[in-house]
């Protein structure tokens, strides 16, 4: 149960991070004096959520994933690990750095009145959302790889 809880919290934190990045993107598109404080809080929230997803997901990966990896590699979808997990675990670092950079870009560019500064924040948050979807999709394929491995037994 603890193992499942750790995994579910990793996924939930990642999804929340993506949703907050989408909210920040929309807020920056409609930036005004009334939503500047919310943009700042959202940028911090994205960073905290993605860092927590990294720490908790990393703990699960290092401590528990070995068992699942063996099932996947012995099953019908070994590439769920050999490609998707390998790619996911390394591309994630780019998303992590983007998420840590987001509040730095927001706090350094408020009140976001100039278009290039706004574009920088929009670009970084859009990349976080895109990478987030990539991570979620890869995670789904990896968990399906475990199912395929178990079905073949």
């Amino acid at each position: 149960m603890l193992v499942q809880g750790v995994m579910m919290s990793h996924v939930a934190l990642g999804v929340l991070g993506i949703m907050f990045a989408v909210a920040l993107f929309v807020d920056v598109l409609n930036v005004n004096e009334g939503n500047i404080e919310r943009i700042k809080k959202l940028s911090l929230a994205v960073a905290v959520l993605i860092v927590l997803a990294y720490v908790i997901g990393g703990y699960w990966y290092v401590v528990y994933y070995g068992h699942d990896r063996d099932i996947i590699k012995a099953g019908q979808w070994p590439w769920a690990h050999n490609f998707f997990m390998e790619v996911k675990e390394h591309i994630f670092f780019a998303m992590l750095l983007l998420s840590i950079y987001l509040p730095i870009a927001v706090y350094g560019n408020v009140p976001l009145t100039e278009k290039p500064k706004r574009s920088l924040v929009l670009g970084v948050s859009a990349l976080i959302v895109l990478f987030g979807f990539l991570m979620e999709g890869a995670g789904g394929i990896i968990s399906k790889g475990v199912t395929m491995g178990l079905m073949g037994r």
Partner: protein, 112 residues
Amino acid sequence: MKNTPMEKYTAGFGLSLVVTSLLNVVILIIKEKNDSVMSAMKAALGHHWTTHGAIVIIVFLLLGFIFSGMKIETKLDSGKMLKYIIWAVIISCVIISGFFLPNLKFAGVMKY
């Protein structure tokens, strides 16, 4: 986009993000191609991925503060920085995916 001066930490950590994203790929290729590096990374913090992550985060923070003190905000603007960041993460994403692409060679015969 018109050239607007950047805040020093936005410029410093932005450039650090560019460099560290590419360094991430370099570390990946070196550790996957060199068994002694992989073993050393496993020995350092118990798992190669843990060590990899620690290196990436520490380098990002260190370079961020170093670049922030180098007045690079006078040479860069937000438009250029966004282009550098987008290209760095796209290049790293393509190289990482391409590196593991041969592992997909049996995906075409998947059964369900």
